[in-house]
Symmetry: C2
Subunit: 525 residues, 2 copies
């Protein structure tokens, strides 16, 4: 497929006219062809108007039609073949195996949402039948279902060019909910975005859906993204990226005449608590697992374990020594973009220059232009508690170990943490009481609590929560990974005393869709 | 019970120190004793700190304990006896039967939430068991439940001194979710608030719960409310009131270092669409039902039908004539407060003085100081479409009838409406096609769609949606009436690979709570 460097608006390919983007091969620093001239206000409006025009028809497609569309997207992505992997490798510096895995995850995610659509749990059907004889007042027939909110603006993420990008989790869950999608491509991987965008465009046509169900915009700077979030047709936003980027979108969304929800997944340092028995019994094994999780993908994961908390002493010293040794041996990895590399260098520099922070180890230096040299630092928990700046995320393979005076200080650290995507406990049987003490705090502070594992590697399933209190996300009521992500793009509607002929299928007598329902408050599976 | 005029903070009664509030008897204009000196920042902080201190223990009370607490509140409110009704009558001007009914609704609502807590649907339990043999990667055990968000700030509403006030729907659903509550009493009914607040205080003590589970603050002006929403311990807000009040709280909540959700139910004109066959066949019957709904409780309901839309012609003329006659015969009713009466007079005056609006009828004039004289006005739909000001809510028993050129113009009106709590269709069999054309728009614009009924009289049940797009509410993902209201105060947490001894009861093997669960995406009732 020849890349065209154009915006995909509905079924059209539209030339941009604002300053062009070229992907940079981070391994070489070279610009990749083609250039992607950016769109502006007119292209945003066109995409959003098409999305709005498609909305009523798309949201009432049958469960099977919508599921088949999601499955067709997956097949079309697979049909691109190796060209997609090679372009993504060139644009991101990520290795082949990782990108092949990510493609599998992306297509698996689309197929999971097809199953979710068919199962119909997301409709949250509730029926309260009429009670004409009730005294003092009869009850009329009341039925509830969830409907799609409206067109969704999705922002591609730099660190998952497939799974959190054009046809990633936000897009899959929006489309599953019945919402048309307008994607703003991440400027780091426009070619990958175009390839996937054309696959979605193709699926829209194949399934005979209105063209506005999907559009893909390019544009450098924040202007086009802000215009997209401000557009009156847009009814929700999905975003994965920096805290600054996410909070800027939140402000725009709130300043609209009609404010809309923003689901921004932003910033997390994913604390790992080393409980004493586990630390004493298997400190070096834990260190090994920790460094593997920390350095995977050059640490460019929102669930990267950036903070480790233990009680000061010989066992923690041994852990730090083991982890430091592993860090020293870790090879440099190419980071995704010059910008991410620059921010990483700044973050590591700030830690290294902090008067209360001690450098334990650095990984190997790299040759290429944007290498991630891993890092391990140590500070006293009391210094961490006294300096909010030490909670800042360093996006990349660097972590800070905190030495606590005792378990009480460990609890104080947990209590002072900002909202997190994850919190991890390394524990053995003898640590259960200490874990039980920490758990209420960790539940309040994080979306996912793990024991004896590592937070990287987020399973796409029904029980997953990839979310958490601010600033981990802008909206802790939701998850951006897993089937519950669909709920972000729905809202409930109640139908009172509607004639059978007007009721939506999901609410008709006899349960023609065969979905789980709450009848008079009782669950009927 | 002697009213003390004090703030109730935990188990304490605390004297305020800022300018006092006295309730005004709206029927006489007289100030009622005692005075309620307002609290300030110190009282807000004390209440919020107590709420925070109570949170972890309260949210992990057993389902039975929490349900029993809600039932005890209901019993304690009933135990106040007639003193509550008499004080509420004096403070609001509402008649005895209405307030007795509202007390029944309030206590019924608390008991419904007790049932909801016990049933455990709100936990949204999801289990994805470990798949150790899965290739290429095994899956670890993942379990999800919902937990309480944290302390909730609840603002009492003027128009439901019991059902949307101190122990009303927001408080009941917050407490059901496991969230402590700090109520800011509405200044129109402080005595009623104190009586109910003491009943809740009593229930907290009887059930042996931490005192911070409930506090009740008084204060004139916006200062104390804004301080409450800004307090870092507060994690969500429930509000019923004006659009200006709600949007001010939204801004405060968004400006916090950690933004929090605001559930503000604000403004709705509840359009009623008179479809041609129904209008021709039973216009005068519809007019009768309409005027009864419009004038009930002096029209002081958020679901009051303030806008009626029909196709211009003899049938609509006859409807307007019938409705106008009924309006003329309608007695004046005392409004809740001088402020509400003043705003009503302004709103009616603006309609009466609008060059494109024709006055059809006014109700009887009243003798008392704050009478609601009903009103009916007519305008051309084209003028309504051209002037956004005609969409403003007139809180009280006044409605505007729109004359449309045809069904297309009716659809245009529907499309241009702001977000609404309700939209009503008056239809007969021959109107089904017209209704089918309007329905997608009404679903997008409203939280509840009704046929052949009236929007006033909101059933407290499982399928109810008392919500809707902005500005009907600040958050269309939710309802403030009915069992789904509990979801506003919850968030999901995922537990990965936790030892059985650390898992919450709801997630343990063998389903000890006997709740409905989603296992590998399949519903187990």
């Amino acid at each position: 497929m020849t890349l065209q460097g154009k915006l995909l608006i509905g079924q059209r390919a539209v030339s941009g006219h604002s300053p062009p983007i070229n992907a940079i091969d981070p391994a070489t620093g070279e610009a990749l062809e083609p250039a992607y001239p950016g769109g502006g206000q007119a292209e945003v409006e066109l995409a959003c108007e098409l999305a709005w025009a498609a909305f009523d028809a798309y949201r009432e497609t049958s469960l099977d039609e919508r599921a088949a569309f999601l499955e067709t997207i997956a097949s079309e992505i697979e049909a691109i073949g190796d060209e997609l992997i090679e372009r993504a490798m060139a644009e991101t510096g990520l290795p082949r195996a990782r990108l092949e895995g990510e493609r599998g995850r992306t297509c698996g995610q689309l197929r999971l949402f097809a199953d979710v659509v068919r199962a119909g749990e997301w409709l949250d059907v509730r029926l309260d039948p009429a009670l004409p004889e009730r005294a003092p007042l009869p009850r009329v027939d009341l039925r509830q279902r969830h409907i799609a909110r409206g067109p969704v603006a999705v922002f591609g993420a730099s660190n998952f060019p497939l799974a959190f990008s054009v046809a990633g989790g936000d897009t899959a869950s929006s489309l599953a909910a019945g919402c048309p999608v307008v994607v703003k491509a991440h400027s780091a991987h426009p070619g990958t975005s175009e390839l996937v965008g054309r696959a979605v465009q193709q699926a829209v046509a194949q399934c005979g859906l209105p063209e506005g169900v999907f559009s893909l915009l390019f544009g450098s700077g924040n202007e086009i993204g802000q215009a997209l979030v401000a557009d009156p047709c847009i009814q929700a936003v999905g975003f994965t990226g920096s805290r600054a980027g996410g909070t800027a979108l939140m402000q725009t969304a709130q300043a609209r005449p009609q404010p809309i929800p923003v689901y921004a997944e932003m910033s997390s340092i994913n604390p790992v608590f080393l409980l004493p028995e586990a630390l004493a019994a298997r400190g070096s094994e834990i260190a090994e697992g920790f460094v593997a999780s920390l350095t995977m993908g050059a640490g460019q994961f929102c669930t990267n374990p950036g903070l480790v908390i233990g009680v000061k002493g010989a066992a923690l010293d041994a852990f730090v020594a083991s982890a430091g040794e592993a860090i020293q041996g870790s090879a440099a990895q190419t980071m995704l973009t010059p910008g991410i590399h620059g921010a990483y260098q700044d973050g590591v520099g700030a830690l290294a220059g902090h008067p209360k922070v001690r450098e334990v180890a650095r990984g190997q230096e790299g040759d290429g232009p944007h290498p991630c040299q891993a890092g391990l630092f140590v500070a006293a928990a009391s210094d961490f508690l006294a300096d909010a700046a030490l909670q800042g995320e360093v996006f990349g393979a660097t972590a800070l170990v905190l030495e606590c005076a005792d378990l009480d200080e460990m609890a104080a650290v947990a209590e002072q943490l900002e909202g997190q995507l994850t919190a991890t406990l390394q524990l053995d049987d003898g640590d259960l009481d200490a874990a039980r003490t920490l758990l209420p705090t960790l539940e309040r502070r994080a979306g996912r609590v793990l024991a004896n594992g590592w937070p990287t590697g987020v399973e796409v399933c029904h029980a997953m929560v990839h979310g958490g209190p601010f600033p981990a996300t802008s909206d802790s009521r939701s998850t951006s990974v897993g089937s519950a992500a669909i709920q972000r793009f729905l809202r409930p509607v109640c139908y009172q005393n509607l004639p059978e002929g007007l009721l939506p299928e999901a609410l008709k007598d006899g349960n023609p869709l065969g979905v789980s329902r709450l009848v008079d408050g009782k669950r009927e599976a």
